[in-house]
């Protein structure tokens, strides 16, 4: 898994690419989110477009990131969800608790 961090209009965007799975992807995600929060980021977006596979550890890491950022007084949202990831968010009912947007424009404007 590769994660690139960039800024747009005061929003920190993490572009995820690859597999968010146990042992590698999940840890990379955790580290990237912690780095962003430690760097003072409040408004964080996760771009899931490049993610084809996410296991329960990956989903767990997304949930943990959501909570971590919230506790630090910020907000974390997801956008560009590929269909298989979207299925998983439905099945786990996380669509009801996480903030999910369609496009990057909509996501950036939502803060």
């Amino acid at each position: 898994m590769k994660i690139a961090t960039r800024e747009r209009d005061g929003v920190t965007i993490l572009d995820l690419k690859g597999k968010i799975t146990i042992g590698v992807g999940d840890i990379a995600l955790r580290d990237a989110v912690h780095a962003a929060v430690d760097g003072g980021a409040k408004n964080i977006l996760i771009n899931l477009q490049g993610v084809k596979t996410i296991d329960s550890s990956g989903i767990g890491e997304l949930v943990a990131a959501f909570t971590t950022v919230k506790k630090a007084g910020g907000a974390l949202k997801l956008y560009s969800i590929p269909s298989k990831v979207s299925d998983i968010l439905q099945i786990t009912q996380l669509v009801t608790v996480l903030d999910i947007l369609d496009t990057e424009d909509a996501a950036v404007a939502s803060f």
Binding site: D55, S56, T92, T96
Partner: protein
């Protein structure tokens, strides 16, 4: 063993990287069956969860402990058995991740995935120790519905 069954056995050291290997073998094996692409994807995810549990909870990530995988594919279905060398657990004690209190917990979704993506999942505990989880999916059973 009936002659139209393909049996593949795999044994991996308890490293998360090895999950990939087993998943690729399953995926390649299922590609030649009547299973549709979506179902094949979800069966792959269920397998990942079973392997992750065997490596993490069963073998506690000790690379010297092996996880044994048995893959049986015939004309109708795939059966996967995953065995670790751990101490077992009580499947009845596992919580439902859809409970409002559990929804934002970072873990506890693996067995739920397996139940969702397979026709059948059963746990067995070998007397000499070790958890065996059996996953089964017919090629003609529909892919899991989304949501509730």
């Amino acid at each position: 063993m009936s002659s139209d069954e393909n049996l593949v056995l795999l044994s991996i050291g308890s490293r998360f990287e090895n999950i990939e290997l087993v998943q690729v073998v399953l995926d390649d094996s299922l590609r030649e069956t009547a299973m549709d692409d979506d179902s094949r994807y979800w069966v792959g995810i269920a397998l990942r969860e079973a392997l992750a549990n065997a490596i993490k909870h069963g073998n506690k990530e000790d690379p010297a402990k092996q996880v044994e995988v048995e893959l049986r594919i015939d004309e109708e279905q795939v059966i996967v058995l995953i065995q670790d060398q751990g101490e077992g657990f009580d499947p009845k004690g596992v919580e439902n991740p859809l409970e409002p209190d559990n929804l934002l917990k970072p873990d506890g979704r693996g067995i739920f995935y397996m139940n969702r993506f397979m026709d059948e999942i059963t746990y067995d505990f070998a007397p000499e120790g070790g958890t065996v989880v059996k996953l089964r999916k017919r090629f003609d059973s529909p892919p899991p519905e989304q949501g509730d």
